[in-house]
Amino acid sequence: MSEVILPTSEVIFTLDGVTVTAQSGQTVMEAAEAVGIYIPRLCHKEGLEPYGSCRVCTVTVNGRPASACTTPVADGIAVESESDQIRAWRRTVIEMLFVEGNHFCMFCEKSGNCELQALGYRMGIVAPRLPYLWPKRPVDASHPDVLIDHNRCILCARCVRTSRDVDGKQAFAFVGRGSRRHLAVNPGSRLCDTKLDVTDAAVDACPVGAILRKRRGFETPIGRRLYDHVPIGTGVEQPVELTIREGSPS
């Protein structure tokens, strides 16, 4: 718990038994990524302040569960990421997100480019074992160029953080507590009341089909989309695989 503010220094820890060298100040997710190990994630996006809400990136650190996107590396920690137990947890998180909203992938414009769907495939989810909650949620098509379909929102806050920290607009935020938590726009009550512009980074931040550009439907045909042929995470895993050093936990 005590604070050590040191200049960046080398930190050595193990990830599923593999010794990883990282820089102090990095998160477990960043350090893993730097050596070509993909830890699944939804609410985290490179460049954004870690948020820790989806819990897809759950790992164990010295046996205790923690979110990899918010946990800083430390010398000598033993991180587990791909155990059967952890995979089962992550799979359940993804299933929870599916049943919490209304996700009809077969007629969603995001299908094939959607990170939620892609994680579902990566984890081998054919159909959720959890009961659907079928919430009633609105669609906001008031904006001339952008629409929000709340049925697909997974409350990841990527649009919230991007609009605030990248676009400097604070066009989105959450209101409501617990299962009533939902995305709201700012100011006003409809997307057209905000300063959001179709060129804003926030529009591209959404991992699912909740924020979509209008009049762009199926520009990229199904079959040629991001995750149609390679599972999500492949980009991280392939190019840098050689930098992993085998070794025993120190």
Binding site: M1, Y51, V93, M96, E100, A173, V175, R177, G178, S179
Partner: protein, 610 residues
Amino acid sequence: MCEALGRAVREVCGALDNDPTRMVDIVRGVQQKMGCVNEEAIDAIAHWTGAQRVEVASVVDFYSFFSREKQGKVVIRLCDDIIDRFSGFAAVREAFESELGITLGQTTPDGLITLDRTPCIGMCDQAPAALINDVPVTHLSTDKARRIVRELRTHGDPKKLVKRVGDGNNAHPLIHSMVENNVRLEGPVIFTPERRGEAITKALAMTPAEVIRAIKTSRLRGRGGAGFPVGMKWEFARAARGERKLIFCNADEGEPGTFKDRVILTERADRVFAGMTIAAYAVGAREGIMYLRGEYAYLLAFLEAVLERRRKDGLLGHNIMGRHGFDFDVRIQLGAGSYVCGEETSLLSSCEGRPGEPKTRPPFPVQKGYLGCPSVVNNVETLACVTKILEEGAASFAAYGTQASSGTKLLSISGDCMRPGIYEVPMGIALREVLDLCGADEPSAVQIGGPSGRMVVAPDDFDRTICFDDLATGGAVMVFGPERDLLDVVAAFMDFFVEESCGYCTPCRVGNVLLRERLEVIRQGRGEPSDLKYLEELGAMIKATSRCGLGQMSPNPITTTLKSFRSIYEARVSPGAHGFRRSFDLEEAVAQAERIAGHESVHRQEVTHE
């Protein structure tokens, strides 16, 4: 904009320097004046404070005491926790409903009275209870409920409902409440008469490091539930970088079944403020905030007066007790109906004027807490213990209790026993002895530590002890007799967690809804044996993956009873015939499909036409 509204908002914001970090107070003020915080009010608050509109809206929508819809001048909030449900809640509710001519959640047509419900208000030893605006009313009966409504209709003033005041300071003019302390057993630490100023004088005779050492020697651990060593926490905060450091007193007492902090604040507030002052000296803090749950707003004026007297006596403010350069003062932050705000980082968020969402850890509050400043959060009882340790010495405190759990513990006992109330017992006491003390003749189960804790079974667990290593509790002990259906208890607790989850992280927000759904299936007798495994696995997953303590504890009602009371589940589940799920209701499924489709199914038409 309506003129009255504009003026009200301007006044409320102005009185708080248009400071957006005081948003919870601002919204509370507007709610009180206008009966709601509607869209217009939100706009106006954003205007005066310079906050984003949605930042205001998120505060309004997070706390259950705020509402966008207009509420009555008088709001009756019936405590609908399990203790109240077992002591006549349903009848009392009906009496209120019929006398008012409205149902729960509605407002009388004349706009005078709103009837609502709320989780535990900390009056479990005098249930059924309710809050009428800020005024607690206890020992409700159907007669009393009707009388209350009739009276309110004539004078509209909840304060006038107090005919007979309770014992001790409950009778103090600034409290003037019917609440009873019900202190049944006074121990040697919390309730001994206080010697004003002595503890601070003794602390000032030492260096801050020596004070921390004394706390460490006493082996005092946090009384709010988690049991973190207090001396260590202070040491981290002392070592943390930062000009501005703060001491927080956690008086949120939201865990259902816990009401001991209410009694400490009523009878020994000076001990608590002295503890904060000592912490400030040890850590190097100049500011303190007491986070008082909104349900205890009736204590606010009294506590403010205690603070004012301490300032006059030189125990707070500049150059405390003549020590040049030792400045410290305390303000009280009221909560507004949210259990998660008792979690220390949510508490800090709430004090910052934001929704009570936990913060990402690390950094820990002692490193970066309130507005990024090193912050110590300690429970009311913990701080009262600190004062005693300084008065009597660490060794005398450590002489009570056990090696790992020193000192005494206040228990708030409620439920099926003869003498519900407050007991100060040595740490390490056997549960059996506690049950004897409170006159629990026939307990079949005892919930230790509230919904977040665990259900223990009679008589197997009764030789276990109350301490950090065995049955840890923030103070709640709820006794259930043999006539109680424990699945009712479990269901009430799961309702509580669903209602109180902040909604930030997936497992807690969605998982608790799923747990409750399946529990309900089982309660209705439509469950299957495989549902028990489902509950166990889902519960374990939620505990492991949730972001804060609320989610990490929320499956406990189910997971602990599945362990110790499995038979109550097994008695209600059976395998489905022909491989069909028993929970599947064909009629309901068809009806649902019809509702979606907007017309009768062909199948049904055929059936009816046959």
